[in-house]
């Protein structure tokens, strides 16, 4: 262990509540708790605690309290505790500091500075319990216009249409690969997406063969830099294909699934030898320019007979608007933008916390640019990275998104507590782990239902908010920035968001 480090969490056990049932000991994946039979007493090593709260939740007598460790260095706003601890860790290991989940730094969260509108007097609000309220959304390229053949009474569409995917709510599960997450977690997402009529994203780890028939129609399959598990059958099993260029949590960085996590089934799914490291290069080595991207897009379309929309996912970086425009012109049907706060299973902390720009600003800029160039309807925009609640979904759509990707929110619904230790493979909640003892904690039937509940709760809330605005179809909110106002934002921020200040 790190000799100069303070523990991150303090464990407190109220002795007279403890009944020595040893639940905490069994639940903990980092061996914090242990039982001394001679003394008939529970003890703990608190330096191993990651604050996942599993024990506190499962303790039948509420005897446990896990809190950030109170020990403090001399207060210093520049050299704060986190900086000091990181320095000490590196001094002891000489390595890159890894972390999991999303950026936790206090960058401005624009969602919390945007407020929504509602109808008063001049137009009526609509009651979603009495009137239909429609969230159905299409993802894919739309033509500029429809040519229609009016033959007497028969009306025929002459224009050729690109394929679109329809979803029942503008919320899609973000890319989380089998390998990064457990089979149980992966399957829970697939089951929930299917039942609710939305989509899940396989991430770059392939789609297990046994899931293709049942869940392929609800899967966006990824084609990432490692090309794991990509073959014709994989592509054709899906309803949409996503080329992963970048990820909000680690723009410009590849991935690394250590060999010990590559179990037999993962190996088959990824099409790599059992137990070998799965390395995703930082770039896709056949894409060094926009023309190359275009070639891959069309290669994928050819491979799937132009039946599936192709998405390109990028991290929100400084020139995101220009890049997105290039992507649409290269032939993508969907542009997915992953912002600064997007999650990850493992990323260097320096990158997670410092590279990229906030989703809200990126999204507003992309939507504006695509509209200015007259190509906004040629693609759908999927916004990802830090969508925490239904109101964030509304705000993202009002800024211009067609739908949102949720990753972290879905994990939390499954049990995740954002302990950020996904990269250790010891997720006590059974999500980010390949340890069967841990992953069997998730029952896909039950966890899937939790995800469905989440989608349904958010959808109800979205309907309420839409109704309040006097809108009964989600498409009428899309890019409708008149329904947003900024609070506590500077001029330049309002300008970039294209949103008036409250009261303006």
């Amino acid at each position: 262990m790190y000799s100069h480090l303070l523990p991150e969490f303090a464990v407190e056990r109220i002795e007279d509540r403890c009944i020595h049932c040893r639940v905490c000991e069994r639940q903990c994946a980092t061996d914090v708790h242990y039982y001394d039979a001679e003394l008939d007493k529970m003890f703990f090593h608190e330096e191993a605690c990651v604050g996942c709260q599993r024990c506190a939740v499962f303790c039948p007598t509420n005897a446990l309290f896990i809190r950030p460790h109170p020990a403090e260095y001399r207060p210093n706003s520049s050299w704060n505790r986190e900086k000091l601890q990181d320095l000490k860790k590196q001094a002891e290991t000489g390595g890159v500091i890894l972390t999991g989940s999303g950026n936790d730094k206090p960058y401005r969260i624009y969602w919390d500075h945007l407020v929504l509108n509602a109808s008063q007097v001049t137009n009526p609000s609509i009651d979603p319990l009495r009137e239909p309220m429609e969230l159905k959304t299409f993802l894919g390229r739309k033509p500029d216009n429809l040519e229609i053949d009016l033959n007497k009474e028969e009306v025929k569409i002459k224009s050729e249409l690109c394929s679109n995917v329809s979803i029942t709510t503008p919320i899609v599960f973000s890319a989380m690969s089998y390998g990064a997450i457990s089979y149980q977690a992966f399957k829970s997402l697939a089951m929930a997406a299917k039942k609710f009529g939305t989509l899940f994203n396989t991430g770059e780890g392939g789609l297990p063969l046994n899931m293709r028939k049942d869940y392929g129609r609800n899967a966006i399959v990824q084609c990432a830099s490692g090309r794991f598990g990509v073959d014709l059958e994989y592509l054709n099993a899906a309803c949409a294909i996503e080329i992963k260029i970048g990820q909000g949590a680690k723009p410009g960085i590849g991935g690394h699934l250590p060999g010990e996590k590559v179990s037999e089934n993962i190996a088959v799914t990824r099409m790599i030898p059992h137990g070998t490291d799965a390395l995703s290069p930082a770039p896709q080595h056949d894409i060094y320019s926009i023309e190359d991207l275009s070639m891959l897009i069309y290669a994928l379309k050819e491979a799937t007979n132009y039946e599936k929309p192709v998405s390109v996912k990028i991290a929100a970086v400084h020139n995101v608007a220009a890049i997105a425009s290039g992507i649409v012109r290269a032939g993508a049907d969907i542009v997915a933008i992953d912002g600064l706060r997007g999650g990850t299973g493992a990323a260097p902390k320096a990158i997670r916390d410092n590279v990229g720009i906030p989703l809200e600003l990126a999204l507003a800029a992309v939507d504006k640019r695509l509209r200015e160039e007259g190509i906004r309807n040629k693609c759908s925009i999927l916004a990802a990275g830090g969508i925490r609640c239904s109101a964030d979904v509304m705000k993202a759509i009002a800024l211009g998104a067609d739908a949102v990707y949720i990753g972290t929110a879905a994990l939390v619904a499954m049990g995740c507590t954002l302990c950020q230790k996904c990269y250790t493979g010891k997720c006590t909640w059974g999500i980010c782990t390949q340890d069967p003892y841990l992953s069997k904690r998730l029952n896909p039937e039950i966890t899937g239902q939790r995800l469905i509940n989440l989608l349904s709760g958010w959808s109800h809330e979205i309907k309420e908010m839409l109704g309040g605005m006097g809108i009964n179809a989600i498409e009428s909110l899309r890019g409708n920035r008149e329904h947003l106002r900024g609070v506590g934002l500077a001029e330049w921020e309002l300008d970039v968001l294209g949103v008036k200040g409250a009261g303006e």
């Binding site: 429609e134 429809l146 309807n377 006097g470 809108i471 179809a473 294209g498």
Partner: protein, 381 residues
């Protein structure tokens, strides 16, 4: 086509006008012309729908003697003669001028701050490079130029054999000012009485709103304004008046004039059926309506509205998909009426043959020499 105003950010675009209104339209389906009286009396009957800050009329079949020429009704704010001179120089460059005169007004009536209103009958004078441009496009872009770049000048209407008369005041005052009942006849009259809640009266801001021979009178507040506006901007329509009516008019222009879709289809774009209903339609219709909604989702007009759109040979009325605003249709012999209230129709035609309330999203299409309006009767409430 239209002029883009460059804003540093969308946040500097002025806020939308909010208004409620009364609407009335009447058409003789045999093309027989009649005077302004019906329109005036009907709109007087629904005075409560306006607040005297705007009224206006559109008349079709107005200038039979000049029916081959574009009739431009142009107002000059504050009777600004410099603006008039500039406009006339511009017109001289781009059009052959056939005839022009001041639109006569009644000196006994003194409305609020009247502008000078002039009419010009013109025909395009295209340069060598411009021969390929259709006349309509040519005229539209010149009209937009005047509206955007010549200060104090504003074009009320620019179609052939039709015209718009509008201003600040109750519609009957505007009618009296322009002496509509004494001087003009037409086979379609539409009229609008305005109740703006946040704009000072400006003559150009009154309705009908017009492009070429298309006129729109509209009532309601469209909650999807931002979505609609942004979509239209991609097709080079830049909203300069910041009203729902303008958005509606541009959408009509894009879909009907430029893309050639019939109103029956356009109605399903502005006020589409619910997915629940679409899903239960026969396969062919299901596909059509699903595709329409998918492709034209940004032109769904969400929120309460009633609109009456007219152009030569056709007038139609439509209300929003869940009928938050009413529309009533009536018919008597060759006359077909549309209005936001039934009372207005009954006031001018107490012995109607038929009167009906169309469903939300079901257009009432009144066409010359046809009985198409009766189609909506079958589906009425």
């Amino acid at each position: 086509m239209l002029m883009k105003k460059n804003y540093q950010s969308e946040r500097h675009i002025p806020a939308k006008d909010i208004e409620a209104c009364g609407l009335f339209g009447v058409m003789n389906i045999r093309g027989q012309k009649f005077g302004a009286l019906k329109a005036i009396e009907a709109i007087k009957n629904i005075k409560v729908r306006g607040n005297g800050l705007g009224g206006g009329f559109a008349v079709y079949g107005l200038y039979p003697d000049y029916k081959d020429y574009y009739a431009l009704h142009i107002m000059f704010q504050n009777k600004d003669l410099k603006a008039k001179e500039k406009t006339e120089n511009f017109l001289g460059e781009h059009f052959e001028l056939i005839f022009d005169e001041e639109i006569p007004t009644n000196p006994q009536v003194s409305p609020f701050c009247p502008p000078l209103v002039w009419r010009y009958f013109v025909t395009p004078k295209k340069g060598e490079m411009e021969q390929a441009i259709p006349d309509d496009e040519y005229v539209t872009s010149r009209v937009m130029y005047i509206n955007s770049y010549i200060e104090e000048a504003y074009v009320f209407s620019s179609g052939k054999d039709m015209g718009v008369f509008k201003g600040v005041g109750f519609p009957e005052e505007i009618a009296a000012y322009f002496m509509l009942d004494r001087l003009y006849e037409g086979y379609i009259w539409t009229v609008h009485s305005r109740f703006p809640t946040n704009t000072p009266g400006w003559w150009g801001g009154a309705h009908p709103f017009s492009i070429l021979d298309w006129t729109v009178v509209h009532n309601g507040e469209i909650s999807s304004y931002g979505t609609n506006k942004r979509f239209l901007e991609m097709y080079d329509y830049y909203c300069t008046l910041h009203t729902d009516t303008e958005v509606m008019a541009y959408a009509v222009d894009l879909l009907m004039r430029r893309q050639g879709l019939p109103i029956e289809i356009v109605a399903k774009i502005f006020a589409p059926s619910m997915w629940d209903i679409i899903e239960h339609l026969p396969e062919k219709e299901k596909k059509l309506y699903t595709t329409l909604r998918m492709v034209y989702a940004p032109l769904l007009m969400n929120g309460p509205f009633t609109v009456i759109v007219a152009h030569h040979h056709e007038m139609f009325g439509l209300t929003d998909r869940i009928r938050l605003r009413p529309i009533t249709a009536g018919a008597k012999d060759d006359l077909v009426f549309l209005s936001s209230e039934e009372a207005a129709i009954r006031h001018v035609c107490p012995d109607l043959d038929l009167v009906w309330t169309p469903q939300g999203g079901e257009p009432v299409v009144v066409r010359l020499n046809s009985e198409d309006h009766l189609k909506s009767l079958n589906k009425s409430i």
